[in-house]
Subunit: 439 residues, 2 copies
């Protein structure tokens, strides 16, 4: 590997006149840190994301919630900057600046005017590589996290989706809530969190993605400088390659119920889905769209339009490296619970038995393709596209390739998939007042 890393152009997009409208380039530094950029003609903003390959599924029971706790702590200061100085640096330029933790990765991101990108890179590089994590900060932030857990616990939608994941994957890391529990957060020590930080925040486990009005070479220079603090980029390494499997891990069928004195009953009904790299995921995209992805979808039409059973009803498909779930989520008045459940089960059985219509497949494809193109105008979505692909997929498809895969989906593909998925044993999670939630 060369001293300054290896650089490659991954994608070039031209418009009808042959003008280059976007170019995706990647540099792998000797330390294994990957930098991907997309320059967008005409953009005035730049979005940056630092993608770290760690999330709640990497946690032992004693460390449950550690990835998310750590995400908070990285905002608390470095030898160079206090928490206030970190905040000030980006607030002063009007940037949007935040972070999130998922089951599989942690992302720190900012959107700024192009001339302020250098500031954003410098602050993020400092935070991510040189956080001090003082005992005082751990204690103050522990209280903040306990409050955040209480807030999620007061949100019926969060409660029912966490319950559904727990039904599916049990007490395994995938089945646990990302933020941890009151017990795990209360017990976690500064030493445990700090070891977790050192183990996972390594250059070969990280991707810096930038999209907007940017120049790749200058981003590489800025990142090399900002992340080069304290010898963070010293040493040679090969980036961690995601371990992918096409077969989704088992789920645990059955019902889980939590009684809460709410006005509504919230329920999620679903089955085992597909992994992130399963080639049938494009067919699942079409199926999910037709089933519950818009106001013309079967669930919306049947549950809300025709029968007035609920305000919020949609289907979803979530994907992980080695697991996936597919389901329908509804909130309804307790008196409508039985009718909702019967309607949702009826629609799932019907699509399993009869598949979709040709018209639904075409509409679903149009909806997916339109959403894809509409999502490309904004530098934040482009940053997410290239950052996530680099971190968790084996490949970055061009937009044309994605459109091609959507177009290649046939009625038979979708109907076969619907039959396979929705004849599996179901999982049900219910949160609400006693009468409905008691089953």
């Amino acid at each position: 590997m060369q001293k300054n890393g290896t650089t490659r152009t991954l994608q070039t997009v031209k418009d009808a006149d042959g003008t280059v409208t976007s170019r995706v380039r990647r540099t792998v530094l000797p330390s294994g840190l990957r930098i991907v950029t997309e320059d967008m003609a005409g953009a005035r903003s730049a979005s940056i994301g630092v993608w770290v390959n760690v999330g709640s599924r990497d946690e032992t029971p004693a460390l449950h919630g550690c990835s998310h706790f750590l995400e908070h702590l990285l905002f608390k200061g470095t030898p160079e900057r206090s928490a206030m100085e970190i905040s000030v640096a980006l607030d002063a330029v009007g940037g949007e600046f935040n972070a999130f933790t998922s089951k599989e990765y942690t992302v720190f991101h900012a959107r700024v005017l192009d001339e302020d990108l250098g500031t954003a890179v410098d602050v993020l590089g400092d935070m991510v590589t040189a956080s001090t994590i003082t005992p005082f900060d751990v204690e103050a932030e522990r209280d903040v996290i306990l409050d955040e857990i209480a807030m999620h616990d007061d949100d019926p939608d969060d409660v029912v989706h966490n319950l559904f994941a727990h039904q599916a994957w049990g007490d395994s890391p995938l089945g646990r809530p990302i933020a941890g529990t009151e017990a795990s957060i209360t017990a976690m020590t500064r030493a445990q969190i700090h070891r977790f930080y050192r183990r996972h925040y390594r250059p070969d486990n990280m991707v810096v993605a930038v999209a907007g009005n940017v120049d790749h070479a200058s981003v590489v220079r800025q990142v090399t400088k900002a992340f080069g603090r304290n010898d963070f980029l010293t040493g040679d390494a090969t980036p961690t390659t995601p371990v992918q499997t096409e077969k989704a891990r088992k789920v645990q069928p059955g019902e889980a119920r939590t009684v809460r004195p709410l006005e509504q009953v919230n329920l999620v009904l679903g089955v085992k889905g597909l992994t992130r790299t399963d080639p049938r995921r494009y067919a699942l995209g079409v199926l999910n769209t037709a089933l519950g992805g818009g106001t013309s979808s079967r669930m919306f039409q049947e549950v809300r339009e025709h029968r007035g059973l609920a305000y919020s009803v949609y289907s979803f498909a979530s994907h992980h490296a080695d697991a996936g779930i597919v389901g329908v989520s509804v909130g309804c008045l307790p008196g409508k619970y039985d009718a909702v459940l019967e309607t949702v089960r009826g629609e799932l059985a019907k699509v399993a038995a009869e598949g979709l219509t040709e018209e639904e497949v075409e509409r679903g494809k149009g909806q997916l393709k339109g959403g894809l193109v509409l999502g490309l105008e904004d530098s934040g979505s482009r940053m997410s596209r290239i950052g996530k692909a680099e971190l968790v997929y084996d490949e970055l498809l061009t937009i044309d390739e994605v459109v091609g895969r959507i177009e290649a989906v046939t009625l038979e593909d979708v109907s076969a998939l619907a039959r396979e998925l929705f004849t599996q044993p179901e999982m049900l999670a219910v949160v609400g007042p006693a009468a409905a939630a008691a089953g």
Copy 2:
């Protein structure tokens, strides 16, 4: 007035080379319907919004929730299209398509690829001008609305903000929740809703705003055709001019509490604010930003960073034609309630007594200006900017004019405003478990 209406260019923006990058134009049709467009160089999408000058504050007690009920019903069909056909038309092209009702206006909006704008205009024109509102649809949608009210009632944040507005403005239209109540929605008849529709959905009470890769003249043609159904555009009228006042109406100081068995206590503490056209609103923007608008703000630093009292803490300023409120919103664990209240009150008293620092004012201005420019990349925000200005303001400022007004704010302006606002008697709304909420 001419047969085809009067057209005027309101704003032209050029880049450094003199190339026009955006142009805002307005046409007023003889019927009083206003069409404003902004063509954005380089955009591939188009956003359209139909802005109707009606909201919950236009409702008598018997019609409480009617604007929002009506917003739902307009999706249910016309002589030309069923509810399903309305949904299909936009789902098929992948557009985002939705609506919302506020206290003062109702907006139907879509974002589509530029080539699909004609479809969006046609569907929206059909829905808004020719809705059939059948008795069957009223009954099915009544159930959906009752469920939506229950959903809001399970959301602690919605509950506390509704309680705060009720404390401020009592049983007046501004003090009531937008969606109505179970009683008002249950009692409302189809005839009442239909009369409300005919009274408020008139061309002179409506603005069609479009931004993106669009041509003004062709938008005017499309709108004239789509909204010309059933003689909707017949007759001459002058657009309804918003009635603005600079003096905000009185609020009712005091405390309101609702006991709920939640994990968190949610509280909103605030005072009377400014109207939408008050010239001091730019100073209030800076004050609000410094007080609780970002992670470097006083509330975030004091409540969350230094003391770990809460996860979510922010300040807000809401404006109406003749009213306004300013406040701080926090969710915390019950054991921290007293400390939160003391801290928030202490910070408000401090800013009233001492004002801000020069550095905070500069940072606040930078944050407002940065946010403004970052918000201009997307056709949806531009559509909202011109649509809302046309409907509810007397004037559409250029971005440079807005930046100029932000820059003109002085430390003295902000400090004087802080003193005036935060020495007024306070209003407090609290939702949470008995111990804290009982006061």
